[in-house]
Amino acid sequence: MTCQDAKDNLPLLLYGELSFDEEERVEEHLGSCESCRAVLEHQRALQEAYDTLELHPSMDLLTRNRMELRQRLAVASSKTSFWERLRHGFTIHIRPIPAGMQPAGALALIAMGFFGARMLPTNSLGVNVTSAGVDNRPVTSRVRYVEPEQSGKVQIVVEETRQRVLSGKVDDLSIQNLLLAAAQDPQDAGLRVESLDLLKSRPESAEVRSALLAALQHDSNPGVRLRALDGLRGSATDPQVRQVLTQILLTDDNPGVRTQAIDLLIEQKSDRMVGILQELMRKEDNGYVRLRCEKALKEMNASVETY
């Protein structure tokens, strides 16, 4: 082996990347060549010099990256699950759920629909899709995370929403599911009213009925609750609906909602109904509701108060 061959192989020797035979030849040469041994030491010093440039990411940088990744994965995960649901034509296989879990299940379903509607992928629906803008730029965005950096810059994670126009019939399941999602929009009561108004044309749908009942029980806006009551008009004899109406009658803080609840409940007169109205008379302060309740009791030939 010549000195040049040995010098060329010194870096690989120090990295331990020479084959057994190659290493043997270099070591043999080094054993008899002082000059190459000096070069080896020089190479060793050079490699130690490289070490001083090594960087280690700070925990802060690592933590920030982990947080950002978690947020991005949450968004990516929602997009995937929504895409899967769309691919399966919104077919949701419902197994019998224990009675106590039904409200939670219904809420979860609606929440999924709401979140899905927020993550609508391009051309994902089997309905006519018209882009609202020719360049497809995001029209709304939401800042999800801000973090000042020591460099003076600010790191911001922005969630962008693209606006598009969809059209289809209410009985199209895709459209219906979007309306169900819109009926739960936390920001826009007007949107919830309009959505429920459209959905009430499909009272035979179990999902629509659940959405109407959920809005009636939980929506903070009385206008939305009144629209939900209107949507339940055709189902007033359904035992589950009557149970919710009774609860609303006794607990809702809006007189208009209580009055409409009476109107729906007395469509099916019963002794139980008489008892409920009499109970209402004992606690009702609003004059108009009392009048409506009194009239209903008289129509059922019942006494207004219990003694």
């Binding site: 060329d8 870096p11 690989l12 990295y15 990347e17 020089h42 190479q43 010093a45 050079l46 490699q47 130690e48 010099a49 490289y50 001083t52 440039l53 090594e54 960087l55 280690h56 990411p57 700070s58 925990m59 802060d60 940088l61 690592l62 920030r64 990256n65 982990r66 950002e68 990744l69 978690r70 991005r72 994965l73 990516a76 995960s77 950096e149 020591q150 460099s151």
Partner: protein, 196 residues
């Protein structure tokens, strides 16, 4: 024995993550994310660019994990993604002729030249010999290497990976990786020979 246990845990994590278990995926990320960030930071020498690589790499892993068939180690599969992203970033930087200068270390954001001053002040006998000029020269030579040479050098010198593993990650042979490392070290010795 311990290594086998780790591999088994990793396989279980991968399978759970493939089945949609997000906690398993997060654990899988945490097994490797520090070394991924370190590789990207050393290659690109910019915390912003390194963070971009980190995010994009693990998003790709998340989106493509279902296609991982255990026909190579997860480490190799992950590093194929990471090295491809880093090579692309290095190539773009070559075109723009840019290089990150401000870096974030365990002490926060620092300029590397300041770090050298601090080390010199510590009185470390080995590092005392290194001049600021040498540090700049090393940085300059590293920047002049081709993206592939730079990648192989970083993976061997800073990450301590064997050439076989480097070759697998880069989708090439061990011999090709060895040639790459040989060229890189030759160039560096030629440029830095007078300084040490």
């Amino acid at each position: 024995m311990a290594a086998a246990a780790v591999r088994m845990d990793e396989s279980a994590l991968i399978r759970a993550a493939q089945g949609g278990d997000e906690r398993a995926f997060e654990e899988l990320v945490r097994l490797y994310d520090q070394s991924v960030l370190r590789l990207a930071l050393n290659l690109l020498r910019s915390p912003e660019d390194a963070s971009d690589i980190y995010q994009e790499a693990f998003l790709r892993v998340y989106k493509n994990l279902h296609s991982f068939r255990f026909d190579c180690s997860f480490h190799t599969w992950l590093y194929r993604i990471v090295t491809n992203l880093c090579l692309d970033a290095l190539r773009r930087r070559k075109v723009r002729k840019e290089e990150g200068t401000v870096v974030e270390t365990s002490e926060g954001v620092l300029d590397r030249m300041d770090t050298i001053e601090e080390e010199r002040a510590d009185g470390d006998p080995q590092r005392r010999l290194l001049s600021e000029q040498l540090q700049r020269r090393i940085k300059s030579v590293l920047a002049d290497l081709t993206p592939r040479e730079r990648m192989v050098f970083e993976m061997r010198h800073y990450q301590g990976m064997r050439l076989r593993a480097i070759g697998e990650s880069l989708g090439t042979s061990e011999e090709a990786a060895k040639n790459c490392l040989f060229r890189a070290t030759q160039k560096m010795r030629a440029a830095l020979g007078d300084f040490v």
